[in-house]
Symmetry: C2
Subunit: 113 residues, 2 copies
């Protein structure tokens, strides 16, 4: 069915389906951050933020490095690229279909004149 790494894409799109997780990713595009630093930006408990982060780690979108006592989080862009690739592949396909339909309509009009 033209599936593209299905299991992994499930996790990545599911990770992206929550506004807190998208906001965490948005912050990590600016700078790497400690879990506590990230948590300070959200009006939810540290425990809730930690759960979102673990889900992001499982999806492969976020990587955790332990440096001394700090847990430093960084963005892993490859899964984002995979997700964008899936969407763009089908958008292009669909836009091609629209363009073909337009040509067909134009040609029919021209042949009638």
């Amino acid at each position: 069915m033209g599936e593209y790494r299905p299991a992994k894409l499930d996790d990545v799109f599911n990770a992206l389906s929550d506004p807190t997780r998208r906001a965490i990713l948005a912050r990590l595009t600016e700078t790497d951050a400690r879990v506590t630093e990230l948590a300070a930006h959200f009006p939810i408990s540290l425990n809730s933020v930690s759960k979102h982060i673990r889900l992001l780690e499982r999806s492969g979108l976020v990587r955790r490095r332990v440096v001394g006592r700090d847990h430093l989080l960084s963005l892993e862009p490859a899964p984002l690229a995979d997700a964008a690739e899936w969407i763009e592949h089908y958008r292009r396909f669909w836009e091609g279909r629209l363009a073909a339909l337009e040509d067909f309509v134009k040609n029919r009009k021209r042949n009638r004149q």
Copy 2:
């Protein structure tokens, strides 16, 4: 937090997080289809396919037209474009950060020589 139409994006990314729903969208990029035609392509019940389709409709990715006794489904590309835009925005941001870091490292090497 740089959120982009959060509620809608939640639904779109959630819709994309399932392999059957992605496969339905993939088929609809090729041609509009009846619910029963789509269901014939999947090794799951018509009822399960219908549930996936309803979720796709709620996300705005699929539109249903009733033509006589047929329910004809077609792809609605705007929400796909929104999802792609969200991903690409942050990918570009992140890639900019990487490029700046590379420049910094190169300049430091050059200054040392």
